[in-house]
Amino acid sequence: MTRVILALCVLIFGSTGGEIAITCGMKATGEPAQLRPRALLQFLGRALCNGWFWAGVPLMALSFYALLVLLSWEPISLVIPASALSYVVGTLGAKYILREQISPARWAGVLLVCAGVALVAAG
């Protein structure tokens, strides 16, 4: 049980930390000029030169590996509901690290989504 909780913590905090770092990198990169293959490739090239992006990748990789290990131990109906907590952790990160404005409607939506994902995945 302890190993499952530990792996879940790595999954939740790794994915949230990685996504927040990548968001910082993407905001610094700026949006693509057009949504066409050439402009998207140039945009991805600029993003790959950003340090925040490379700070996020190892965290995401760690989280991905924790997901693979968890899926080999436990059914998906347990892994995904438990990982739904990342919606709350991610919103807290968006508020305090990315300085996004989380309105009451957005908080309510996030909490409903979190509960909904847990129920759907639990079957």
Binding site: R3, E19, I20, I22, T23, M26, K27, A28, T29, G30, E31, P32, L35, L40, F43, L44, A47, L68, V69, L71, S72, W73, I76, Y87, G90, T91, G93, A94, K95, L98, R99, E100, Q101, I102, S103, A105, R106, A108, G109, V110, L111, L112, V113, C114, A115, G116, V117, A118, L119, V120, A121, A122, G123
Partner: protein
């Protein structure tokens, strides 16, 4: 087209691309890892799991879809809030359940239907908020 409406539409298109790629990718990964069997947490066990993973075609198809997810995810995060994109992406769980009922004629438990309704209301609530509440890098410089 007003910029606010254009922002909403392009955010919606990218979130849909994310949802399709993420669900297809997760499904393929689950199938591939189940084919490989349980991972043993020893040096030899991890090395064996790594070899099985990189030689499994189903896992590579999953990785292809997850790459598509990553590109659409990075693109949408360049203009929209993380706290907007992340819950909106959960619409995939509701969509999968509806597809399972319509095309596979699966029976769905009442608990799962409640979850689908909660996700839809949650996504609608988040969708009504402004997709971007922070300044873009270009705006901050200007």
């Amino acid at each position: 087209m007003p910029s606010e409406r254009r922002l909403r539409i392009k955010t919606l298109v990218m979130v849909l691309a994310m949802v399709v790629c993420a669900n297809a990718g997760d499904l393929m990964l689950k199938r591939g890892m189940s084919q490989n069997g349980a991972v043993v947490l020893t040096a030899a066990g991890l090395a064996h799991a790594f070899r099985l993973t990189v030689t499994n075609g189903t896992i590579w198809i999953g990785i292809f879809f997850l790459t598509g997810f990553m590109v659409s995810y990075m693109t949408v995060l360049s203009w929209a809030d993380y706290s907007y994109v992340m819950p909106a992406g959960a619409f995939g769980y509701a969509l999968l359940t509806l597809l399972a009922v319509v095309f596979l004629h699966e029976s769905v438990s009442p608990r799962r239907w409640v979850g689908v309704v909660l996700i839809c209301i949650g996504v609608l609530l988040v969708g009504q908020t402004k997709p971007r509440t922070t300044e873009l890098a270009s705006e901050a410089v200007a």
